[in-house]
């Protein structure tokens, strides 16, 4: 096979893949609980309603710009959409009663109410902007504590439902796309290295989920004995190193094993352009490949940001909102395949 693509001609292969094409987004969350109240798992519905009311009052006083939703008042589709946008967890969707969410329309901050803890204050930022995500969450936390009595002790810090979060209650996480390392069979070594450095590595959906599409969530394990700046700084530095390794992997793929990469892209694009039924997980695998292709300049008429939008739009809740109807799983797979076929119809490989 003669490659029309000259790896040396691509500016991307010199290492210019922007950080945010590898580190997709980051989040800092603070777990907080109210003094004298049972944690949500052991609380009665009345207890949870009381906590919800107290938190809403604090939000009204300090952060009126946030939109507050009671999950019990949301229909299933609205809950799914919030979950797919990563504003709330699957755990909170399942709890529903007494659960709630408050979020900024720009997606910079969000508070989950009555999830595993009474409050989970989250700051979000694109790429590696973990410091910005922390600032956003911390500022909201400082505002809310004027109105709420947090469970806190000098020795253990913020008391949480699970002792694994006690102390700062802070979890700093970054979502990283590591398909390059996967194609070189190096991702396991990187994951093992991260775990040895006491970082948690999970799939895209958080705890217990598979790393579908080779998108991993990397976060700190320790929340006690180190302060917030220390945690955020350490996770940021380690994520930056992972980004560097993935960037190197992509350069090596293009230079040393272009056929492996192009084969992966060609198969993925063929399926996306021809399939009539696509489940979420398999669509994510193929979109992940196109994301890598767009990032190294091997795919035309498609940008990394376009793929990121498609990854959200092809989720079950978003698909049903586009269609304006409840769809069963088979109907969704058909609609997903049709939508993706149209969106990638003009995409070509640069080979």
């Amino acid at each position: 096979m003669i490659l029309k693509f000259d790896p040396r001609a691509s500016s991307r292969q010199t290492g210019n893949v922007p950080d945010d094409e590898i580190a997709m987004s980051c989040r800092v969350r603070l777990a907080r609980n109210l003094s004298g109240e049972r944690f949500p798992d052991w609380a009665t519905e009345r207890d949870r309603d009381r906590v919800f009311a107290k938190v809403c009052e604090a939000l009204r006083a300090e952060a009126p710009r946030l939109r507050v939703e009671s999950l019990a008042a949301c229909d299933e589709l609205e809950r799914d959409i919030l979950c797919e946008a990563h504003l709330i967890s699957k755990d909170l969707v399942e709890r529903a009663a007494g659960g709630g969410v408050a979020y900024a329309e720009d997606g910079s901050v969000c508070v989950m109410i009555n999830e595993e803890d009474h409050l989970r204050i989250q700051g979000f930022a694109p790429g590696c902007g973990m410091e910005a995500a922390w600032r956003a969450a911390d500022a909201l936390d400082t505002q809310l504590e004027r109105h709420l009595d947090y469970a806190w002790t000098p020795r253990l810090g913020y008391l949480t439902a699970c002792p694994s979060n006690v102390g700062t209650g802070l979890r700093a996480s970054a979502m990283v796309h590591l398909l390059g390392l996967r194609l070189l069979d190096e991702v396991e070594a990187v994951v093992r290295g991260l775990e040895r450095m006491r970082l948690l590595v999970r799939g895209i959906g958080g705890e217990g989920s598979e790393a579908a599409g080779q998108i991993y969530q990397v976060s700190n394990m320790d929340t006690l004995g180190v302060d917030e700046a220390g945690i955020v700084g350490r996770v940021s530095r380690i994520v930056a190193e992972v980004v560097r390794q993935e960037r190197n992997a992509r350069i090596r793929l293009v230079r040393e094993t272009p056929l492996v990469l192009i084969d992966c892209l060609a198969r993925s694009l063929s399926i996306l352009q021809n399939a009539r039924l696509l489940a979420t997980s398999e669509a994510l695998e193929f979109l992940s490949a196109l994301r890598l292709g767009a990032s190294v300049g091997l795919v035309t008429r498609l940008k990394v940001a376009d793929v990121d939008k498609l990854i959200v739009l092809m989720q079950p809740g978003h698909l049903q909102r586009i269609e304006g109807a409840d769809l069963d799983s088979d109907a969704r797979d058909e609609m997903r395949a049709t939508m993706l076929r149209r969106k990638v119809a003009a995409v070509r490989l640069k080979v």
């Binding site: 609980n33 003094s35 004298g36 109240e37 049972r38 944690f39 798992d41 052991w42 595993e116 410091e131 922390w134 600032r135 911390d138 500022a139 936390d141 400082t142 504590e145 004027r146 009595d149 947090y150 469970a151 806190w152 002790t153 000098p154 020795r155 253990l156 810090g157 913020y158 008391l159 439902a161 699970c162 002792p163 694994s164 006690v166 102390g167 700062t168 802070l170 394990m221 320790d222 929340t223 006690l224 004995g225 180190v226 302060d227 917030e228 700046a229």
Partner: protein
């Protein structure tokens, strides 16, 4: 927790009892525990125990008194060991272990003995060094000044003590709004 036999009184001790051919551990109240012991011993009417002229029936109240006394010493300790629980939310150790989630903030105190080791294993630390809520920060700062004042008085460093007293007064009059731990 209610007695697992009468379901009325609070359980105070654990007994082992054969139910449907299977030995089970039951948490029971004092009355049911006593009834169980009496049920298990030989029937006094049919089992004269000695050649003493004391009627076997007259030993029953004595047995009751001994049981009561033993109950106070052993029974409560056994109940505590068997099923420690949080005095605020009532969650038992077995319950929180099963769910891997504590019941309320007070559980950290109630289960401190076993949580201490678990927390050290999880975080390699036992001491919070991060953010302090503004309200707690003010209280902590005041306590620090009180401790320093106490030490200065004991050490007869009176000038330092006067300065500390004045700082305490000022703090009490103005309140403290200092916050700490946020991003710089």
């Amino acid at each position: 927790m209610k007695c697992e036999l009468c379901h009325k009184a609070e359980a105070e001790t654990a007994i082992r009892k054969v139910v449907d051919g299977e030995e089970q551990e039951l948490y029971v109240c004092r009355t049911c525990a006593k009834a169980d012991v009496e049920e298990g011993k030989p029937r006094t009417e049919t089992a004269p125990s000695s050649s003493d002229d004391v009627s076997p029936l007259s030993a029953l109240p004595l047995m009751g008194m001994i049981l009561d006394a033993a109950f106070e010493i052993v029974g409560r300790a056994a109940a505590t060991q068997a099923e420690p629980s949080c005095p605020v939310c009532g969650i038992t150790r077995a319950e929180y272990r099963k769910a891997s989630r504590l019941g309320c903030p007070a559980c950290y105190e109630a289960f401190a003995n076993e949580l201490d080791g678990a927390i050290l294993d999880m975080h390699r630390s036992r001491q919070h060094v991060g953010k302090v809520p503004a309200k707690a920060h003010a209280a902590r700062r005041r306590q620090q000044l009180v401790d320093e004042l106490d030490a200065a008085v004991k050490g007869q460093r009176y000038e330092e003590a006067i300065a500390l007293r004045d700082r305490l007064r000022k703090l009490d009059e103005s309140g403290d709004r200092t916050e700490a731990g946020g991003p710089a």
